[in-house]
């Protein structure tokens, strides 16, 4: 076998050489990346190191504000561009680029007084013209190139720069939710974007936001240093930022496609913090003395929706209030939270966030407790007796329902669906699960809307104002985000009143009525307000433990990294 050994050695040498050539090819042109952030990796003179943040599953899609649509993109822009206002963790509007604001008596004109002396990263001043340019561009191109930003300018007719520090925004109708809508719109530098916005604005989407290819003009507290959407994007601190400055000299945002890899990287000290971890990972992380683990947020209710539309001809009994009440009573929310979310969720009673209390609601909505006997009684009273297979029969048709389970959040939703199937079996309701790519289009875009499903699970992403959470159940949203088919003229009228009611107390009274209607009619079956499982190295202090309602790295405000520092 001597010959074989020699040949083997030759092959090993060849393999090593081939590998070296390939790695050299991969290294070519990549060597010696020099960055300004680099020098500040050591903490000296009060500067803190670059904060290395990781996420699992979904990163950025694009950091061009006219292209990107993921929540992470908005968080990045919040930390790069001026916004008129921002929101505190208590969901109160706070000054950002606008120091103060006022509304005319008719509610149609908003006047913002802006920060003076602020500058873009290229040294040019940030003025009211930039704000007016951004708003007017989005309004003008909202059904075209700026469609992705259109949700933030509803009802705005025009914006005018009265002088460098005064901005006037004119509305078609009074809007109580204006700040909550407008706050997410990043104000962009007119001198950079104006040439792209010409004509139909198609060129707006061609901006890469890659500092290696073109200048990125931002205001801070951070700006892009190195763009790598599918890997790690690095941001550096902007020292000319007009607001309170963070101590960290930059942060990195790293995408992991596998939670185990993220956990290992965190344990090995390759990154400082990971959010969006699966709840089941908490047991592993709790055993590591160097790591802290918390559930952040709670603004994303996991909800069971029942198709009670008139178009659901196969199961008209779902329009019966008693059936929906029975379904609600059968759900074992506590067991779901314990087993599926590993405790990282709180039971949900409504689509209106508990956080809205007291500013938008006078009291929180109670959670429906599990009561199987009562659920069975309700269905018995309706005359829907159980058949030989234990499934009830309503008007000659078995109460066997199709439940859509989306692939996007499958790890969680499939388990919730299994538990729901068991819960509903106890009250004589059969469930057939159907795994779909994304359940929303099935309901929204099918020509025969509300015909092909009976129930679906969905996780809503809510906003700091209840305007949107209540809008989705109005008739105007039928065929769009009104996924249950609920239609109630009285509700629609109340919604119209709250959106234009500028008196806070009066608005709260109307939202209370809307909330009562949603509960009374059992429009939604909220299961749990889910939390974002986040873990970080304890050497970092200043992570807002439990105090970030929209999760870690959210689009709520620019203050989220300000207290971060290494203390060990």
């Amino acid at each position: 076998m001597k010959s074989s050994r020699k040949a083997g050695r030759r092959m090993v040498v060849f393999t090593v050489l081939a590998a070296l050539v390939l790695i050299l090819a991969a290294t070519a042109g990549c060597g010696g990346s020099s960055t300004e952030t680099s020098g500040s990796s050591d903490s000296s003179g009060g500067d803190q190191p670059v904060y290395r943040l990781g996420t699992v599953g979904m990163g950025y899609d694009s950091l061009n504000p006219f292209v990107g649509m993921y929540a992470q993109d908005y968080a990045a822009w919040m930390l790069m561009y001026p916004n008129l206002v921002q929101y505190s963790n208590e969901l109160q509007p706070q000054p950002d680029f606008a120091e103060s604001w006022s509304t005319s008596e008719d509610g149609l004109t908003w006047t913002f007084t802006l920060t003076s002396g602020a500058a873009w990263t290229d040294g040019k001043p940030i003025t009211a013209s930039d704000a007016a340019f951004t708003i007017n561009t989005v309004v003008k191109l909202q059904t075209g190139a700026a469609a992705a930003l259109s949700p933030f300018v509803p009802g705005i007719e025009t914006a005018t720069a009265v002088d460098d520090t005064t901005l006037e925004v004119k509305l078609a109708a009074p809007s109580a939710a204006l700040l909550a809508n407008l706050f997410q719109l990043p104000i962009l530098p007119e001198h950079f974007w104006a040439e792209y916005a010409k004509g139909d604005g198609a060129k707006l989407k061609t901006v890469t936001m890659d500092p290696a290819k073109e200048t990125v003009v931002a205001s801070g507290p951070f700006t892009i240093e190195k763009l790598d959407i599918k890997g790690t994007t690095i941001f550096k601190r902007v020292d000319t930022f007009y607001g309170p400055k963070p101590m960290i000299t930059g942060y990195g945002f790293q995408l992991f496609t596998n939670a185990d890899a993220a956990i290992q990287a965190l344990k090995a000290g390759e990154i400082d913090c990971v959010y969006q971890l699966p709840p089941t990972s908490s047991d592993t992380l709790k055993t590591d003395a160097n790591l802290q683990i918390e559930g952040f947020g709670g603004s994303m209710p996991e909800t069971l929706l029942v198709n009670d539309s008139e178009n659901n001809k196969k199961h008209p009994e779902l329009q019966e209030l008693g059936v929906r009440q029975a379904i609600d009573l059968a759900i074992d929310r506590t067991a779901m939270i314990d087993t599926v979310y590993n405790g990282f969720a709180v039971p949900g009673g409504s689509l209106l966030l508990p956080l809205y209390v007291p500013q938008f609601l006078s009291a929180d909505v109670p959670v429906t407790g599990r009561d199987v006997a009562k659920a069975n009684q309700l269905l018995d009273d309706l005359g829907y007796a159980k058949g030989s297979d234990g499934i009830r029969v309503a008007d000659g048709v078995e109460m066997q329902y199709t439940l859509l389970v989306g692939a996007m959040n499958r790890a969680i939703d499939s388990r919730i669906a299994d538990m729901l199937t068991q819960n509903l079996a106890e009250v004589g309701i059969g469930v057939e699960q159907k795994l779909v790519d994304n359940q929303v289009p099935l309901i929204m875009t099918q020509p025969k809307a509300y015909t092909d499903f009976d129930m679906t699970l969905i996780m809503w992403g809510l906003t700091p104002d209840p305007d949107w959470s209540t809008l989705i159940s109005t008739s105007t949203m039928l065929g769009a985000y009104n996924l249950t088919g609920y239609s109630n003229p009285e509700y629609d009228k109340l919604w119209g009143q709250q959106t234009s009611e500028m008196d806070a107390a009066k608005r709260t009274a109307i939202i209370d009525q809307l909330s009562a209607k949603l509960v009374q009619d059992v429009v939604f079956h909220p299961i749990a307000y889910t939390q974002m499982v986040t873990s970080w190295n304890k050497k970092w202090q200043g992570v807002p433990e439990g105090g970030a309602p929209f999760g870690y790295y959210s689009y709520l405000n620019k203050m989220q990294f300000n207290a971060l520092e290494v203390t060990q």
Binding site: S3, M11, A18, G31, R52, A148, K205, D228, T257, M444
Partner: protein
């Protein structure tokens, strides 16, 4: 025109037809699914219906399917793969950037798999029936049958802390020289490339073993032995040369498929390659990018099959007859 030239022309023709059919099939396939790129934008609360319609118009998905198909073929003929719905950058740039990352990692893994597999296969055949043969063949079969993502996760858990477990470089390695960058890249490459090598080497070992066994019994090999040639010459020059045919076929087929078949490896190790791009494009319903990737995978599979045919006809002229 020689028989071989005719053979190659025939094969090239059928390769083109297969490529065309696959392009058409992939176009129809993605659009047969419910929903589209604009309906997937539900993450943005409050998106008005008009804005969704505008996005559909911009993406061109409001047009009839036949019009979309003809436009697609026209642009394709001009070498334009379109613009990705996700980042609005040219598909070709996206595909080339990710494919480069995949080729390097998969290339190393495949080369290692071919060499190790060949060596193991030849050794096992030479020692047919021995304990060594049974152990080697058994181990190759076991590893070959393990799910690749599971092997990847084991590697990740075992070697975390020793070797980097995600990405293809340390993003925080600032001001590094060429050597430091090179070492960093090489370290990042080890786990995913090993995973690819483990995924592939078993099939090479088994194929080489069986063809080498057959070759070792051939008349010309027996003659070589009778002539008293040394073992090395008998095993490698006489037997292995004729045993190489299935290895060439398998290598070309594997090279064609590895581009598509690394989705799981790339997902485990967060490798920014074509596999990861495919997963993200599916989630975002990014038709142009998916079509671009499918086109590339098709070309690679069909191209490497064609290359395998040509090499086969060179190594064994009887194939062309």
């Amino acid at each position: 025109m020689s028989k071989r030239q005719k053979f190659i022309l025939r094969r090239a023709g059928s390769a083109l037809v297969i490529a065309f059919i696959t392009i058409t099939f992939s176009f129809v396939l993605f659009r047969a699914l419910p929903g589209d790129a604009a309906s997937n934008l539900s993450r943005v609360p409050n998106m008005p219906k008009e804005a969704q319609a505008a996005l559909r118009a911009q993406f061109g998905i409001d047009k009839p399917l036949t019009t979309q198909y003809l436009l697609y073929l026209k642009e394709l003929a001009r070498g334009d793969l379109g613009v990705s719905f996700q980042d609005q950058q040219p598909v070709l740039d996206n595909v080339l950037r990710t494919i480069r990352n995949t080729v390097v990692m998969v290339g190393i893994g495949t080369v290692v798999a071919i060499l190790v597999g060949t060596l193991i296969g030849v050794t096992a055949a030479y020692r047919q029936g021995s304990a060594r043969d049974r152990v080697i063949t058994g181990a190759a079969m076991v590893i070959y049958s393990l799910p690749v993502q599971w092997v990847g996760l084991l590697l990740l858990v075992w070697f975390a802390g020793w070797l980097p477990t995600s990405g293809m470089s340390d993003p925080y390695l600032f001001d590094a020289g060429f050597l430091e960058t090179f070492v960093d890249r090489a370290r990042h490459m080890i786990l995913p490339a090993t995973c690819v090598a483990l995924m592939l080497f078993g099939s090479f070992a088994l194929v080489v073993r069986s063809s080498q066994l057959e070759a070792l019994g051939d008349d010309h090999v027996l003659t070589a032995r009778a002539k008293g040639y040394r073992n090395r010459r008998v095993v490698w020059r006489e037997a292995f040369r004729s045993a190489m045919l299935p290895l060439v076929t398998l290598s070309t087929l594997t090279l064609g498929w590895v581009i598509a078949g690394t989705i799981l490896v790339e997902s485990v190790f967060t490798w920014p390659g074509i596999g990861q791009a495919t997963v993200q494009a599916v989630a975002a319903r990014d038709y142009p990018l998916l079509q671009g990737i499918f086109l590339l995978v098709t070309i690679s599979v069909v191209g490497f099959n064609f290359l395998g045919d040509v090499l086969h006809s060179v190594l064994d002229p009887r194939v062309a007859e």
